[in-house]
């Protein structure tokens, strides 16, 4: 099957303040299948946000090609269709909400599509329900918590009926409760609504349930695989300044001391089990 997202040798350069040419993306080739849940990690400046912005044509490659559902992002005529296919959620919840009432905010996108009122109403209700915010339809966004605001932002994207949602550090500004709310929502949309998810984060624990984890460094993909495959590469991750979950690090350290512990431990229960088996 044709991958829903396809990047072929994508290069993206920009000029720095000093006038130097900087390659934010340096030859990225990547296929993402429909329905996949992909998490991208990498530290600041690794190119992950630049990559995300290529997925809905906010940025276009300097060379190479990005296809979203077969559409080349350089094709001006497809711009709106691409953006409807791939919706984006950003880091700061306060910068994404435009209306004074939650349901009006969610309706903003569909209204701009010129849909009939009853269709807009239906989409808004469905979207708010999918993110668990239907009770707050009439609320003012500034009375909501950060996690709730991000869920409203996600609902606004859902109301556009996208096939892909790209989330660029949506949990970075949230507290643990807000983070959990957003992650549960994202997982629900992936599993129950079949939406392809590309989630960018610094929190390694958010990558544990992904189908695939991609590690970016200096504009390149340096590591990818299932969470177990990626996180067991403790040395590589540490070298580029990334964290691994505490239990994975513990497994790595115990193994280095000669204990018979598998390196692909991701969860607390697995670790306890592995130690008790010794």
């Amino acid at each position: 099957m044709e991958p829903i997202i396809r990047l072929q040798d994508v290069q993206f350069e920009y000029l720095s303040f000093e006038g130097e040419e900087i390659a934010a993306l340096n030859g990225v080739t990547l296929d993402i299948q429909k329905g996949e849940f992909v998490v991208i990690i990498g530290h600041n400046g690794s190119g992950k946000s630049t990559l995300a912005k290529h997925l809905n044509a906010l940025l276009r490659p300097s060379s190479g090609v990005v296809w979203i559902k077969g559409m080349d992002t350089r094709d001006e005529d497809k711009l709106w269709e691409i953006r409807q296919t791939a919706g984006m959620v950003f880091q700061n919840p306060d910068n994404q909400l435009v209306a004074t009432i939650v349901e009006e905010d969610v309706a903003f996108g569909p209204e701009n599509l010129g849909l009939p009122p009853e269709e807009i109403r239906r989409r808004v209700n469905e979207a708010l329900k999918a993110v668990g915010m239907e009770e707050y339809a009439q609320a003012a966004p500034h009375y909501l918590s950060g996690g709730q605001k991000q869920r409203v932002a996600i609902a606004g994207i859902l109301a556009m009926k996208p096939e892909i949602i790209v989330l660029d550090e949506p949990t970075a500004m949230l507290d643990p409760v807000g983070r959990r709310e957003v992650m549960e929502t994202v997982k629900y949309l992936n599993r129950h609504e079949g939406i392809t998810v590309v989630h960018i984060t610094h929190y390694m624990e958010e990558a544990v349930d992904a189908d695939r984890v991609i590690v970016m460094e200096q504009g390149k993909i340096v590591l990818q695989g299932t969470p177990r495959q990626v996180f067991s590469q403790v040395e590589v991750l540490k070298e580029i300044g990334l964290d691994v979950p505490q239990v994975t690090e513990l497994a790595y350290r115990l193994k280095a001391e000669g204990l018979d512990i598998p390196l692909d431990v991701l969860k607390v229960e697995e670790m306890v089990e592995a130690i008790c088996r010794l």
Partner: protein
């Protein structure tokens, strides 16, 4: 300078339909040179609390004593309180405004009418404390350096006031793991080498656990738990009910204990866990 907080209550917008009780009879003491972790989820009152400690907010009732300065609902806040107690807000880099890094950090000391030589000494020292290269970036615009550097410039601006108490409200929010570790190790140095009293507001139990002497947990405007990290983390059920967790490593140790392994409760870093587990496993094999 110890900090004493007695029966502190703060009500926002009293007498209006939006009246809300943000702090409810809070009392505690912080000793000179202590490193305190302040946790609690959004809306628990921790930001309201820290804003009282440097006089940005005044109590509705109760009092705060910092050094010889007493703040009650009627006191006038002396300027020197803000010099003693430096407060680094969340996302402090949003407050940068000057044309160069140097000017931005020098802004506070200049307002103290210090001679320019002293201002420069303070700017140099503050930049060194947060690991910024003076010559390399003093003339850069704060808007053309990286996010991690911007945050450090903002923290340097507070340090240039030479406070003896430093409060940081989620100083690592939004930073990547490397930026986070850099900032935290600089804060640790301020505490260890300068003997500064530090209050660190954070959501990260892992960070708090390995840095602080004592943890204060806020919930719904009250102090829910206070104690050393091991004391606080032993209250798993209470923390869960407040929407807070314990470090993953501590969870592993609790799991092992539940399965009959004799392990201590005060383990919250990977280093500690490796040591204890090796001792137990090797001890078992030799027995």
């Amino acid at each position: 300078m110890p900090i004493i907080v007695e029966h502190l209550t703060h009500v926002y917008m009293p007498g209006s339909p939006f009246e809300s009780l943000a702090l409810d009879d809070v009392s505690f003491e912080i000793k000179d040179g202590e490193f305190i972790g302040l946790i609690g989820h959004t809306g628990s009152g921790k930001s309201t609390l820290v804003q009282h400690l440097n006089g940005l907010l005044k109590p509705t009732s109760g009092r705060i004593v910092v050094d010889d300065i007493e703040i009650t609902s009627t006191s006038k806040v002396p300027k020197r309180l803000r010099q003693h107690v430096g407060l680094v807000f969340q996302y402090p880099e949003h407050q940068l405004f000057e044309e160069t890094v140097y000017q931005d950090i020098a802004f506070g000391p200049r307002n103290l009418n210090l001679p320019e030589g002293e201002v420069e000494r303070r700017v140099r020292e503050a930049m060194a404390l947060v690991g910024l290269d003076f010559e390399a970036i003093k003339d850069r615009s704060p808007f053309e350096i990286s996010g991690g550097q911007r945050r450090r410039v903002a923290i340097a601006g507070v340090l240039a006031m030479e406070p003896s108490i430093l409060i940081l409200d989620e100083p690592t929010a939004g930073l990547d793991p490397k930026g986070r570790d850099e900032i935290l190790s600089q804060i640790k140095n301020l505490h260890e080498q300068r003997g500064m009293t530090i209050i660190l507001v954070s959501h990260s139990m892992e960070d708090i656990a390995r840095l602080v002497d004592r943890i204060i947990v806020m919930n719904r405007g009250k102090i829910a738990l206070v104690g050393k990290p091991e004391e606080v983390f032993s209250c798993v059920e209470e923390l869960h009910a407040m929407g807070l967790g314990i470090p993953q490593i501590t969870q592993v140790m609790r799991g092992l204990k539940a399965r009959g392994m004799d392990v201590p409760d005060n383990i919250y870093t990977v280093d500690q866990a490796v040591k204890v587990i090796l001792e137990r496993i090797r001890g078992k094999k030799n027995a």
